[in-house]
């Protein structure tokens, strides 16, 4: 099992949970399982073509998965996945 760290902008789609534990042998599997548990995350993580959005970075432990094997990066028990979206600043509400 892998722990996925959910950043605060996306916690509204995970029932306010800051971490979600998912099964999966690869990063891709784990993210699929994550979206399976929390379907509202789909459009925030993936574009219409099913590709991870460019402003959402995924780290395995402290390494950017783009510099590993991307979605095929293997996971071992105890690994942590972090989703790190870009943030610009704290503003008011509309």
């Amino acid at each position: 099992m892998t722990e996925v760290q959910i950043p605060s902008p996306l916690r509204q789609y995970t029932g306010k949970q800051s971490t979600v534990t998912v099964p999966g042998k690869t990063v891709g599997d784990a993210l699929t399982a994550l979206v399976g548990q929390h379907p509202d995350l789909q459009r925030h993580l993936y574009n219409d073509d099913g590709k991870l959005r460019a402003f959402v970075n995924v780290y395995v432990n402290d390494e950017d998965m783009r510099y590993l094997d991307k979605e095929a990066t293997p996971l071992t028990d105890g690994d942590t996945i972090s989703i790190v979206p870009s943030i610009a600043g704290g503003k008011g509400i509309v």
Partner: protein, 405 residues
């Protein structure tokens, strides 16, 4: 960091006394303090991040500090922008900042630029400085600052905040990654998670801005391990500091081997927000309360009603169902006695609404209620309107006793 070329300026006896606690540390010493005096730091924004940045850099003895801002202090700034006081509300942030900074350190050479940072002025501005500290609050300016730093060879001391979380790094050093290596593209405006859940814990820009000030000073001194190549994540709620590895992307469009961006571009267009807002987002002011978060997100064109029309209907006892699509914590601040269903919950709580009644949906400013009305129309509702300007307009025009937030 471009090396500060000797001869470094001398320190007066008054300066030596002032910087005593620096001078007795070998990591700073006389040479380090003279480097600080020689240094020119440009701070983009005199808001949440810019406040601690400017205050500490000034106190520490940075010789020349540039401040870029065109905003005016308002009450909602005071919860975090510690350069400004209650008495400054209505003043230009630069005037307020200048007064505080000169009071802290009269040796400071302060250069203020009352302008928004644009593709037309950024390169010329940056050339006169050694380090740029990015205290902005919007994506177009983030990319503009980054690209201008890469193109002028100035390190970009980066900090960013959202609610309880912050990020900090140092971009665009000689061999280090830039902001585009980390995030090649900004989020599309519709997905910027800010509408119903913006806000920022007041101390957070303090935490992150002080990290930026620390990195700036280390760059000037040439001491320690800079955050270049690392992204520091600050979680104030969990009080956890984590760090991720950043790599220079060889295919980066601006700092890669074969760059495709060799001059500054139109950053609002790049961020997809051109033309969606009457007043273009403030590429430049860090703190502008003038560009509310959701302003950049596309607003559907839906039937609307003004606060005056709604008041008339209510006074005439017409059967109007008021639907409040804000969050419960906002409802507690002020409300119109409406039925509360937060926008995100609307799809699964549709059964609470009577399609035969006239429904007026409202939020704080009108952004979320427009989305709610679009959704209701798509769901088969016929008689629904979005309250233009939301409770903010109601407080302005109808009920002056209602608190604004």
């Amino acid at each position: 960091m471009p090396t500060l070329t000797p001869p470094l300026p001398a320190l007066s006896n008054d300066e030596i006394l002032r910087y005593s606690r620096h001078l007795i540390m070998p990591e700073v010493g006389m040479d380090g303090q003279r480097k600080l005096k020689a240094a020119r730091v440009l701070c983009i924004g005199a808001g949440g991040l810019g406040s601690p940045l400017a205050l500490y850099l000034t106190a520490a003895g940075v010789g020349t500090l540039g401040l870029v801002d065109f905003d005016v202090v308002d009450y909602t700034n005071l919860q975090r922008q510690i350069l400004h006081t209650t008495a400054d509300v209505g003043r230009k942030k630069l005037d307020s900042a200048a007064e505080k900074l000169k009071a802290i350190n009269p040796f400071l050479n302060l250069r203020t630029f009352e302008t928004r940072l644009t593709s037309a002025n950024a390169l010329d501005l940056f050339r006169d400085f050694d380090v740029v500290a990015d205290g902005t609050d919007n994506f177009p300016t983030r990319y503009l600052v980054n690209d201008a730093c890469v193109l002028t060879g100035k390190p970009n001391v980066y900090g960013s905040i959202f609610r309880f979380e912050g990020q900090a790094s140092v971009f665009a050093t000689e061999d280090g990654p830039c902001y585009r290596c980390l995030y090649p593209e900004p989020p599309p405006p519709g997905l910027v998670p800010s509408c119903a859940e913006g806000g920022v814990l007041g101390i957070l820009p303090g935490l992150v801005g002080v990290i930026q000030a620390t990195e700036t000073i280390k760059l000037i001194l040439g001491q320690g391990d800079s955050l270049a190549g690392r992204l520091l994540l600050v979680d104030a709620l969990g009080m956890k500091f984590r760090e991720l590895k950043l790599r220079k992307n060889p295919d980066c469009p601006v700092c890669g081997k074969n760059p495709t961006i060799t001059q500054l571009i139109d950053y609002e267009e790049f961020c997809g927000i051109r033309g969606q807002e009457a007043t273009a987002p403030a590429a430049g002011s860090a703190s502008s309360a003038t560009t509310p978060a959701g302003a950049a997100s596309p607003q559907p064109d839906v039937p609307s009603i003004s606060v005056d029309e709604l008041k008339k209907k209510l006074d005439a006892n017409e059967d109007v169902f008021i639907l409040d699509v804000r969050e419960p914590h906002e409802y507690q601040i002020c409300n119109l006695n409406g039925h509360l269903i937060p926008l995100n919950d609307l799809p699964r709580r549709l059964s609470e609404l009577d399609p035969t009644r006239e429904i007026v949906a409202h939020c704080k400013m009108g952004g979320r209620s427009a989305k709610a009305v679009k959704f209701l129309l798509d769901s088969g509702f016929k008689n629904v309107h979005s309250l233009t300007g939301g409770v903010a307009a109601w407080a302005d025009k109808i009920d002056p006793k209602m608190p604004k937030y």
